[in-house]
Symmetry: D2
């Protein structure tokens, strides 16, 4: 099935399970408006049970599931069915996040299955060699953040960032490299893009900001500015 | 938070992951209409990602999640957040299905958490002694079907059915006992209710029937008839 | 197959994975000598890979595995085969420890399988209602320690201890109740036995003591004294 | 710590959990004798609980664990402690077998940890791209057998075998490539070595042979012959 075409630079709003219900919808609606205004690819994740409503109400977002099970329609209970994701309007899926690890032996087939169903994949890895290994399995985006920095105030250092990007593109230049971990302001976003990241993903930097919507706006504006300058 | 009050006899439509999208919505709408018409408690399960839409469109169903993770709002990725289930209109949750087993050590707290959030629990066990053990953990409904019969054409035998019910109520008479496994017609439904089951749950008997909606109707009518006769 | 007959009071030395190689063997040899001297049932656990040697060298200990998989001889890789445990001289097995949780749905069959193979089972639960539920599944010993106290300096309070014992024996008076968590001296051991515990299990209290062998001796002497006084 | 140096060609006897006790020891003793006689590297795996005794009695075998947990000495229960493996004389460990999958996110650190403790690693992958990805994580040996062929009578086809070897060595020429799956005779062993495999691993071909010891001997002789011819 047809899949969304991703382009750099992109931005990922990943509220994990910090938000649900109205506060989540408010953030999603605002992101939707910013995506339209700045013509930027914004991936927006949410708890599994909230994806359908966001997809209904936010046509400018690339609504993104935080997990997918490699199952087919049948007698599975309580798992994340790829076909259902596609059906409700989800366009991308995060696989192998540190909080939802996937056995190596089913990673490759999960990524393959997402493709067949028409979903983009963002595959997480937490070191450079793992990022390279992941790249061999053919996802669209590799997010290579050191697990120990997730949720912390400290950003990955410049050397780590540039060498992640270089090493992953060495394996497959078509793969987009996302940077995350420790991003606290629009300056961090701009810096990572200048270092060569194709996209930037943020959780704590937004949901724990004094004013999450304002912070998200500034970060997205930084992506938009980078996009303009690249042209 | 306030929880739905269950009453016997009830019926559970559990399409597992056999259905999604339009065929699932068609079945849900029809079940919704039958629930209203016959004033019967119908629990209706669906893939996690379809629950929100069913809850929006089917006010007469007790929309039921097929799993729940014992997490609180926070940095979890790709898990089933109890608060989100409640928020989108889900009223009940299946825990410990054979296809989504929960470690014994978190079962008790998962059932407790569902209560706090305002969700009913249907807890699965696959033998009489497990059914009794489960009853001690305080769920609303215990479904005690032998795993080896799930999806088969053979129903649990009468002795198993009556002694399951008796032994579970011995532990806690307030717990409702659901019977499932191998139910293929409205006669099976009627028989189980006559044997003392508080509710009956069906998957294959409906989704693999020649005409699923017609079969579901006949089964629900059998429940309605039983309800009338009991009065 | 024939199983060891347990009698109260018993003592459990559970070095978890704190010890291996020579320090573990030293402790085991000393426990073996104390078991012989005081004619007391001492269960001694060890990392999976050390069990065979302890069983060879310590005939007076009830050598105890820290886990068992519910598998039969066949194509399993890297799992704990019940038949092999029995073969190498292991006589008991801990199931469902907080660090090695077992899904509810395979607990009953795991306990049953241990019996068939000729192994005693010590089943862990972490609250009174879980202890009761566990008792329904038929293990030989139930260890009911609140998970949050494991490894801490604080012992379960008296009310918890006595009501655990009472409630579990209500379900099945033949089950022996072990108390653990927060035991730091021979006085704690004596107190728990006086409160009605059939046995006492210790990890940190021994391995983190200034002199582990000396502390173990004093604790075992406390068990021996209690045994004498009961006669 | 010092690790065994592997050289091609090698042979892996992997009785999985088919054997334990005396029949396992008989096979191990015979393999030990053949290893000495033919001066060949023979890796011999066994259930976790049998490793210590094999290591004691079979000095010419590279005794191999079927799993290892990435833990340090401490409060783990029922897991496979790397330090204990080394201590009892184990020299290698299989990681990520299809029957004991490891999450991608801990594979890299597990392989690294084995190195630090002084153990060789045989890492399993079940396709060419997974084999390449695995090679990036730095194991000593990659076993790349398609999961669907494990335990079957059919061998991987020649094209699969040669391209696995080529593609994995492309990533890292120092990695040894093992072939397994469907090997039923000494001819199969010889053929795989001629196709370029560094080693061959067998389970069913031996344990289900009419005369396992005789079959193992003939397979090991095939390896020895190949070794001679290469010189």
């Amino acid at each position: 099935m047809s899949r969304k075409k991703m382009k750099a630079p992109f931005f990922v709003v990943n509220p994990k399970s910090f938000l649900f219900g109205k506060p989540l919808m408010d953030l999603a609606h605002y992101a939707d408006q910013l995506a339209k205004e700045h013509r930027i690819d914004i991936l927006f994740t949410a708890p599994l049970t909230e994806l359908a409503i966001i997809a209904q109400e936010c046509p400018n977002l690339i609504v993104t599931s935080q997990h997918m099970d490699n199952i087919v329609p049948g007698d599975s209970m309580g798992r994340v069915l790829p076909e259902s994701l596609k059906q409700i309007g989800v366009q991308a899926v995060v696989v192998n996040h540190a909080d939802k690890p996937i056995p190596f032996s089913i990673l490759a087939s999960t990524i393959q299955r997402a493709k067949e169903v028409g979903l983009l994949t963002i595959a997480c890895a937490d070191s450079i060699s793992e990022g390279q290994a992941m790249a061999l399995l053919g996802p669209d985006i590799v997010l290579a953040e050191p697990t120990e920095l997730i949720g912390r105030d400290q950003m990955s250092d410049r050397a780590y960032v540039t060498s992640t990007i270089e090493k992953i593109k060495e394996i497959n230049p078509a793969i987009l490299v996302e940077q995350g971990a420790g991003i606290r302001s629009e300056k961090d976003v701009a810096e990572l893009l200048q270092l060569g990241a194709d996209g930037v993903g943020v959780t704590s930097g937004i949901v724990k900001a004094e004013n999450p919507k304002e912070m998200m706006k500034r970060m997205i504006q930084a992506v938009a500015l980078h996009q303009k300058e690249r042209k």
